[in-house]
């Protein structure tokens, strides 16, 4: 045995085999039926040195384009302070398992408590779980919780203006879980309250899902929605882009029961889709219904303030076949990531980031419209740092041309529609370059 990850010498193996009363390791597999034994080599390369591994990934990396990113659609290119990468690489955080032994896991438990505290304040809610996989699955979990909470009502409404990826995942979970999903109509780019009320009038609705920043980047006005849902005994669930909530009206302020979404916007690298971070916050009345882990404060035998996983009777590994969620992990390290981000940025920093993105997006939108090649799809609707344009040339043409210039122009959401996001990461010069490209088509 010779691999650098394996400490065994031949002499060690002999000692161990003797203890086990066998002569070869293969004897420890004597219970595996002969016809199942894998007798050949894997069709995989031979062991690589560290340099070769590094070269392999460098070569793959060269096959990706280095682009200025104006794409959003739920995931945003934000600046992340160097501190975060350094701290989350601490191996005591990185290589620990779920904190089952609180006596030697206070590091993990403490930061989850901080995370929960910050997320409650950000969303205006009273309780947060320890995090979930991503915003799409967190929203699907909220849908399932609403149905479990309502007991006999099995119908959940989702606004047509919610991000398509979220709708898709919610529909997948609902379809197999036996939950009926209806889409609330969209009028001029926002959720139709009339359409929602027509659907609520049937009396079988367990929950309503809307998005504070919708699929067009529009910040929606939900005045009256909470009252409508309350009257129909349906939970109001708001899907949000976490960073927005430092600036825009929070789910708590709108009167929502549940706030869910993706916290990637809190500096998490785009990393081609993950790992990101789903958040799940709710009113205190729902505390014993929410999925996932929760950390609570208590005291140890010596009276110190300490933290533990709590309310575990809710969790799937205890409930087994009675479970209404199967989640048994959280997104641990990513919750540490955003906790450090929020610590460094504070409320002021987060609203500064939003202001920069908002100013940039409005500047870019105005310049793009001035080219005459496109118009704002919903010119009367307010947006923060992301907007939708309707293009007179095919949107695909803009995307392709910009790619040649090293720019990801946005996310194409229809043949003639492009969703464009601006953050603190793109310079005015880069925005002007995009404008020139559009003008040239």
């Amino acid at each position: 045995m010779s691999h650098r990850y394996f400490p065994h010498t031949d002499a060690d193996i002999d000692v161990m085999l003797k203890k086990c009363g066998v002569t070869s390791i293969d004897d420890l597999y004597a219970d595996v039926p002969e016809q199942l034994l894998f007798r050949r080599d894997y069709n995989l390369p031979d062991e690589m040195s560290e340099k070769e591994v590094r070269d392999f990934f460098n070569n793959l990396g060269k096959k990706n384009d280095d682009l200025v990113c104006f794409a959003g659609n739920g995931f945003y290119d934000h600046y992340a302070p160097a501190v975060i990468g350094s701290l989350i690489a601490r191996s005591e955080f990185l290589t620990a398992y779920t904190p089952y032994q609180p006596e030697i896991s206070q590091g993990t438990l403490q930061y989850i408590f901080e995370y929960q505290s910050m997320m409650c304040r950000l969303t205006g809610m009273e309780v947060s779980n320890a995090s979930m996989y991503d915003g799409t699955t967190a929203t699907a979990e909220a849908m399932m919780m609403a149905v479990a909470h309502a007991r006999k009502r099995n119908h959940v409404l989702i606004s047509s203006t919610v991000n398509q990826a979220v709708i898709d995942v919610v529909k997948t979970y609902a379809g197999y879980h036996g939950v009926e999903i209806s889409l609330i109509d969209e009028v001029d780019g926002v959720t139709s309250r009339d359409s929602m009320n027509q659907l609520l009038a049937k009396g079988d609705v367990a929950g309503v899902i809307v998005a504070t920043r919708n699929r067009y980047g529009i910040i929606e006005d939900f005045a009256g929605f909470a009252d409508d849902c309350k009257a129909a005994k349906a939970l109001l669930i708001m899907n949000c882009v976490a960073l927005d909530l430092a600036t825009i009206k929070t789910p708590g302020e709108w009167g929502a029961d549940v706030a869910v979404g993706d916290a990637q916007s809190l500096g998490i690298p785009l990393s081609f889709g993950g790992p990101y971070l789903g958040f799940f916050c709710a009113k205190k009345a729902l505390m014993r219904k929410i999925p996932g882990r929760i950390v609570g404060a208590t005291k140890d035998k010596d009276g110190r303030r300490v933290f533990v996983l709590t309310l575990q009777a809710r969790e799937q590994h205890i409930r087994r076949e009675k479970a209404t969620s199967n989640i048994c992990s959280n997104q641990g390290l990513m919750s540490l990531y955003v906790t450090i981000y929020m610590s460094l940025m504070g409320a002021k920093g987060m609203s500064d980031v939003n202001r920069q993105g908002c100013d940039g997006a409005h500047y870019l939108a105005e310049k793009l419209v001035a080219t005459g090649k496109c118009k704002l799809t919903f010119p009367n609707r307010p947006f923060l740092n992301e907007f939708c344009i309707t293009t007179s040339v095919p949107a695909q043409k803009i995307v392709d041309r910009a790619l040649e210039e090293g720019i990801l122009a946005g996310v194409q959401i229809a043949e003639d529609r492009l969703l464009i996001a601006v953050t603190e990461m793109q310079t005015v010069k880069e925005m002007d370059r995009l404008v020139e490209i559009v003008k040239s088509l």
Binding site: P7, Y42, L44, G61, A71, Y97, Q106, S271
Partner: protein
């Protein structure tokens, strides 16, 4: 690990006016949102400078125990060494900067990475194709069950409403089946811990969609009747699902696909050494045998005839279960691990994991109760101390291990025994480490007889003493606002 408990919360370091950031300014005219859409309540986050943040989290980390801190024999969790090169690869800017909505032609390297890992896992699993989209093991289970449901639905076979799960299964199996909308039927274990084929037979009919199994099972025992079980399950028209939580000892020795499994998931954070991160992010790729590929979740990555890669969606797919292609940076780590081990290293990993487990088992079975004799694979279960007269419990033993600088084994699982103590050493532990652990376990057994109170009052030497869980659940304090209101 630091023995002085660092107990502060970041909120307690806050001073008005401090900040820990500087972002580039674009100096554009300020645009204001309509008043009715603005946040009105003050966002009370900490105000802290950069050095204070660094010291705070650094100190906090010293209250934690990871694989890099010491031996972590947590059964069924495969706490093996997490190589550092994998972290470097995962942090490569050519991947971390990629937006998921980037057109295929600009992300060929990323798609090739995904496809290469997909193929490697298919080879190791003996499957036709893997999706890497599921975010965790439990998410993989759910995805695998939805593949099975989509398969039956595609045949108009909609009366299959049940999933059979062994009584020794991980708690996630029945929970995933419940979330997938299935009724759960439990099949009993025989005294030797394997599935009772005679108990299974009458349960198999045309209302069963799938049977979920772990092999080796949660007792670390190989289900040697698996060929017979597979043919019984298939004869009933159901599919056989492999929970890959215990795949590690089978590396190089046997493949789930060859055992007759139709669908499986792999926990990359177990068998393929990606770090557990205090609970995540993990990844739970799902593999299927030939003929089931079209049911895998959207989107999928395919290789074109010209050697390029594309992201596609299939109408027959079960739908989508993630925003994009899963936890990509975790996938990168797993591929780095596979390349570092190579064919030969992978074949050795499973064997050494099994050798380590059997060595620990044989070295302790005279003082700890071994309910099932014989060879195990990567892990095994003791039913507490052999001498039951001391009244020292498995929990006491686990806590006493913390005093000696070890993480505890998995305790009170599986549910088959009252005092389950489940030990999984993994292949990256040396004989010296195992011998030291064995000595400590023997010392604890001796203490249990001679000075039982010492064991019962453990831990005595950890950053904190035993927390009051009952109070925590009775009067939950789940955020800092509630803490300050006390």
């Amino acid at each position: 690990m630091n023995r002085d408990f660092y107990s502060k919360l970041i909120f307690e370091l806050s001073q008005p006016g401090r900040k820990g950031y500087k972002i580039p300014e674009n100096h554009l005219p300020e645009v204001k949102l309509p008043e009715n859409l603005k946040r009105t309540s003050k966002l009370e986050l900490p105000e802290v400078d950069e050095p204070s943040v660094v010291r705070h989290y650094n100190n906090m980390s010293t209250n934690n125990f990871g694989v890099d801190s010491g031996f972590y024999p947590l059964g069924s969790c495969t706490m093996k060494y997490n190589p550092k090169i994998n972290e470097e690869v995962a942090a490569h800017p050519a991947f971390t900067s990629l937006h998921p909505a980037t057109p295929d032609k600009a992300v060929q390297g990323a798609l090739e990475l995904y496809y290469t890992l997909q193929c490697a896992l298919s080879e190791v699993g003996g499957m036709a194709e893997f999706t890497l989209n599921p975010y965790a093991g439990a998410h993989g289970e759910l995805t695998g069950l939805l593949v099975i449901k989509a398969y039956h639905n595609s045949r108009g076979d909609v009366k299959r409403t049940k999933v059979i799960v062994p009584d020794s299964a991980h708690g996630t199996n029945p929970a995933s089946a419940a979330v997938a909308g299935y009724e759960i039927i439990e099949v009993k274990s025989r005294p030797d811990g394997t599935v009772d084929v005679e108990d299974l037979k009458p349960l198999l009919d045309d209302t069963v969609a799938a049977v979920m199994m772990t092999n080796p099972n949660t007792l670390g025992i190989f289900e040697k009747n698996i060929p017979e079980i597979a043919s019984l399950v298939h004869a009933a028209g159901a599919l056989l699902y492999y929970d890959g939580a215990n795949l590690n000892p089978m590396l190089g020795m046997a493949r789930p696909g060859d055992m007759g499994f139709d669908v499986m998931h792999i926990n990359l954070h177990k068998t393929f050494s990606t770090p557990h991160g205090g609970g995540g992010p993990g990844a739970g790729p799902v593999g299927v045998r030939a003929g089931l590929e079209q049911f895998l979740p959207n989107p999928r990555v395919v290789k074109n005839s010209d050697g390029s890669f594309s992201v596609i969606s299939d109408k027959k797919s079960l739908g989508s279960i993630s925003a994009h292609l899963g936890n990509f940076a975790v996938e990168a780590r797993a591929l780095a691990y596979i390349l570092s081990l190579g064919n030969q290293g992978l074949k050795e990993a499973g064997k050494l994991a099994t050798l380590n487990a059997n060595y620990v088992k044989e070295s302790l079975k005279d003082v700890y109760c071994l309910p099932i004799e014989g060879v195990c694979k990567h892990e095994f279960v003791f039913d507490g101390l052999a001498d039951k007269s001391t009244c020292v419990t498995t929990l006491n033993v686990a806590k006493r291990l913390l005093d000696h600088g070890y993480h505890a084994p998995t305790i009170y699982f599986p549910l088959l025994f009252h005092e389950s103590l489940m030990i999984e050493p993994t292949e990256t532990e040396s004989l010296q480490t195992l011998d030291e652990f064995i000595d400590v376990m023997r010392d604890i057994a001796r203490e249990a007889k001679e000075t039982p109170d010492v064991v019962k009052n453990a831990p005595l030497n950890t950053p904190i003493s035993h927390p009051d869980d009952t109070e925590a659940a009775l009067h939950p304090i789940v955020n800092y606002t509630e803490l300050t209101e006390l």
